[in-house]
């Protein structure tokens, strides 16, 4: 059995994050870099605000994801959000990334990494990636790239995310017309010559994403599907509602066995991370004689669960499929009510001095 990369894992629950930031970052004089999304998402500034209070020299790179013909309200919200984030920093830069090429191809992840190649990141002792307002197509390659680039150095890579499941439900993406692999991650059909292995798809279910997940299903064409339900969750009935909403997909299109449902703690990324790794380990010997096994991830919805999927994908080199959003629709009335009460911040320390053996 391959030991998990993040076991034990240094992470901080929402109740511990503030004191961790104050203790760890507050006690340092070296510069820290935060890479955050500069979008309309009401959670954009939460992590930068938290760091600003403790970090003495805070530099920032704000990634602005540009999508075709954005809603003017979202543009205005993003501008306001960026203005707020840009206060009291040692330095900051806005990196605008076109998520789509002119022909509609998804190029955001690749473009961002090409831009970061020119950045001198080695001078920072700590690099914080704030996933709160970054899309999967940008954040997943970014984290993978930072881990690769800082491997063997003393730089610490952290991820933070402000999450509020209610808010995830009121921000609806307008999916582009086809699913694709997240840049830099493995593909399901990477080698025609190697033959076909048994593909198990682990889609993370979220409200209103049936067409998106169906598009991914059509692209991945898995042999089996184990959908991930957020449970336990802040709304205990959420999984029931998801099961009802996805009934036709589960029963007909994906032919899901009722014993194949995965439940993962909505606010604990490590729960899902360990579950995915366990499934991977158990399938390996079973499918060894039949061309091998491959888990395919599709993290949608909850940020925290996405972090779990990201960690599993990084640990086991798993394919991550998604449908890039061409734009977003937000129910602002609902969003404004949710944010103050629900947003929570979580921290996972991905690499650096706390993992001497990595």
């Amino acid at each position: 059995m391959t030991p998990p990369r993040w076991l034990p894992c240094v992470d901080h629950r929402p109740s511990e994050v503030k004191s961790f930031v104050a203790d760890y970052f507050g006690g340092q004089s070296e510069p820290c870099l935060v890479i955050s999304g500069a979008g309309f998402d009401p959670r954009s500034g939460a992590v930068t605000d938290l760091l600003r209070k403790s970090v003495k020299v805070l530099h920032a790179i704000f990634i602005k994801e540009e999508r075709p013909s954005p809603d003017p309200i979202l543009v205005e919200k993003a501008k306001t959000s960026l203005d707020n984030m840009n206060r009291d920093l040692a330095s900051s830069r806005v990196v605008s990334v076109d998520v789509f090429a002119t022909d509609g191809a998804v190029v955001g992840g690749r473009t961002l990494l090409a831009r970061l190649e020119a950045e001198g990141l080695e001078s920072y002792r700590d690099i914080v990636v704030d996933l709160s307002a970054l899309s999967i197509g940008i954040s997943f390659p970014l984290v993978k790239y930072l881990l690769q680039r800082t491997a063997g150095s003393k730089t610490n890579v952290h991820i933070f995310a402000a999450s509020s499941p209610g808010l995830d439900n009121v921000i609806q993406s307008q999916p582009s017309d086809r699913a694709s692999v997240v840049h830099g991650f493995r593909r399901v059909n990477e080698s025609y010559g190697a033959g076909e292995c048994a593909r198990l798809w682990l889609p993370q279910l979220a409200m209103g994403r049936q067409p998106t997940l169906q598009r991914i299903f059509d692209e991945v064409r898995p042999h089996d599907t184990c959908p991930i339900f957020p449970f336990p969750s802040s709304d205990p009935k959420h999984s029931d509602r998801l099961a009802a909403a996805y009934l036709s997909e589960l029963e007909e299109a994906w032919s899901v066995d009722t014993r194949s449902l995965i439940f993962a703690h909505e606010e604990d990324p490590l729960d899902l991370y360990r579950t995915i790794l366990r499934i991977e380990e158990e399938r390996k010997p079973a499918f060894k004689q039949f061309g091998g096994s491959m888990l395919v991830l599709s993290p949608l919805g909850s940020r925290m669960l996405s972090i779990g999927s990201l960690m599993a994908a990084l640990d086991r080199d798993l394919p991550v499929y998604y449908v890039e959003a061409r734009g977003y629709e937000v129910d602002w009335n609902a969003a404004d009510k949710i944010l103050p009460a629900e947003a929570i911040i979580r921290h996972v320390w991905l690499s650096g001095e706390v993992y001497p053996s990595m």
């Binding site: 022909d103 990494l113 090409a114 307008q174 830099g184 010559g193 998106t212 064409r221």
Partner: protein, 641 residues
Amino acid sequence: MSNPFEKRATEYLRDDEAFLSVVTPAPLFTYFEPKAKDGVLFDRLVVVVGSPGSGKTTIATLLQFKTLETLRRKTGMANYKELVHALTKCGAMKNEQILLCGCRLPLESEYREFWELPYEEEVKIGLMHSLLQSRAVISWIQNLTSENRHAIEDIEIVPRADLPAAAEQIGGTSAQAVFDRACQIEREIYRIGASLVPPKLSSLSHLSVEAYEPFQVIEKLKVLSGPDGAREYVPLVILDDAHSLHHLQLSRMLTWLARREQRVSRWVLMRLDGQSSQAALLDSFEEEEDSTSAGPKLAREVTTIWLQRKDDRRAQRVQFRSMAREMADRYLRLMGIFNRNGITSLASLLDVSPEPITDAKCKELAKKIARMQLDLRISPSVRQTLEKEIESYCSGAEGGDVSEDVQLGMLRILMQRYARRLPQVSLFEVSAEQEPSRPVKANADVADGARIQLMHEYGRPYYFGMDTLCDGSSENAEQFLQLAGRLVALSETRIIRSQRPALPPGLQHRELRVKTQEMMDAWRFPERRLVRALVDGIASQCIAKTLEPTASLGPGPNAFGIPQEEFAGIPATYPRLAEVLKFGIGYNAINVKQEHGTKHTQWALVELGGISIIAAGLGFRKGNFLERTAKDLAEIVGASK
């Protein structure tokens, strides 16, 4: 038992037998056989264009060697003979033996990503072409060897007779050596495309950039021994979803594949919205080709097959109706409940006997007409003449849906037309019986106009029957199955409840309107909001025209007509609108008919798709349109600036 109509096509693709049990040969006869007769299906590049759900992937899957081999072995399959007959007509089989070794390569986003690599164009294109060729070689050999059909040692690659030495670059003539070399090349090139940060040009391996042209070298694939003895197969590569490529990549690939040096058969399948907005609008590949570029002129070197749309639309409609019937009956036979009840035809489940409005509503309509007659000052004798005219039409009318309510509806329209056509007289002129400027005639248009007005006014069923189902699906197989699926499910429920399985027109009408609305609400393609705004905008103006008392366009319009020249300028004048139109066309929300000659002017008709027509409550008559400008269209989607 699940409803096979509600399953997506992709669900059948994994299992060859399940796939073959639902596939219908009709598209092969309709679209491919004529080209096969001309001998242009396998000797040159074939480009198949169609919207999502038009059956491209189904055809590609059918022509894969392993699918054909499954078909050949399963002689007891219900549709075996028809499929083999169709494949024989298309030149894929002969005497129940397979002639082609087909493989399907979906051109996923991976290939598009090569365009983003920071290398010169030649290098990027070269890498993609090599990857495609290596995967085609791997797939051909895997097709021949899968399920232990043939041992790889028994397969030989037959190179071009005039280039025997070229076999070296593909690994020789032994299938194992050729397979190994293809795998090496695939691995090397995949690594470059999938890397997080692309490697420097200077660090690319020789293997990935050196000459590798199996499409030019391989003439045949030869199986030396097997149950049927030695056989030779023509290699066929089917590149599916080519619209995913960058348009320059696509153009370069088409030019490359169109070259006469290429020996293997090659097909490219693509969606309409994948071409540039301009091409989608102008309906022409030649526009796509850079006139300054060297290489063949695509139109001459390429066989282009349009699934579901071409100039002869009447013939297309008839062909689709027949294909859809066949497909629906095949699906219906898969449902035990219908089999047990001896129902083998979907058409028999759809009642077409007219369902007039109730007597009470009919009386109400008659009263309205009497009031209108007074308001319009139409004399009883004129009314009588009009009634006779209607009676005369109805006695000879085909189709039979001319019940009393329709006749009243027709009378109302004719009275309005009569009043409109009377010359104006001064207040003090003696009122004598006037003659209208043009005679008022009852015809099929008036009858259809009356039916559609009765639908809006009294809910009289208008959308029912098999032909309506076909027309409502815009000649798109997937849309047809979705619409039919709802009706089949209803009929199934009726059987379970021991009711008559056939659906009365009222029920069909209601369900189709609800279903089409649901389908539109479920649109999830790019620019769907603006496409929806465009569709709703066109529909609302068309409805207003349809409900005009004189029903001047009979069943009413379902399109906007834009002067052709103005329409051609849309990509330059209103690029945003062009994008919206591109996706609307690609996903069957709208259709564009160009060069439509009416009133000595050429028009481009932006027509609503069948789904939108039913949802809005419009007529299917093609060619009825409202004269508008490109600016009007742009304003609807807020893209006039």
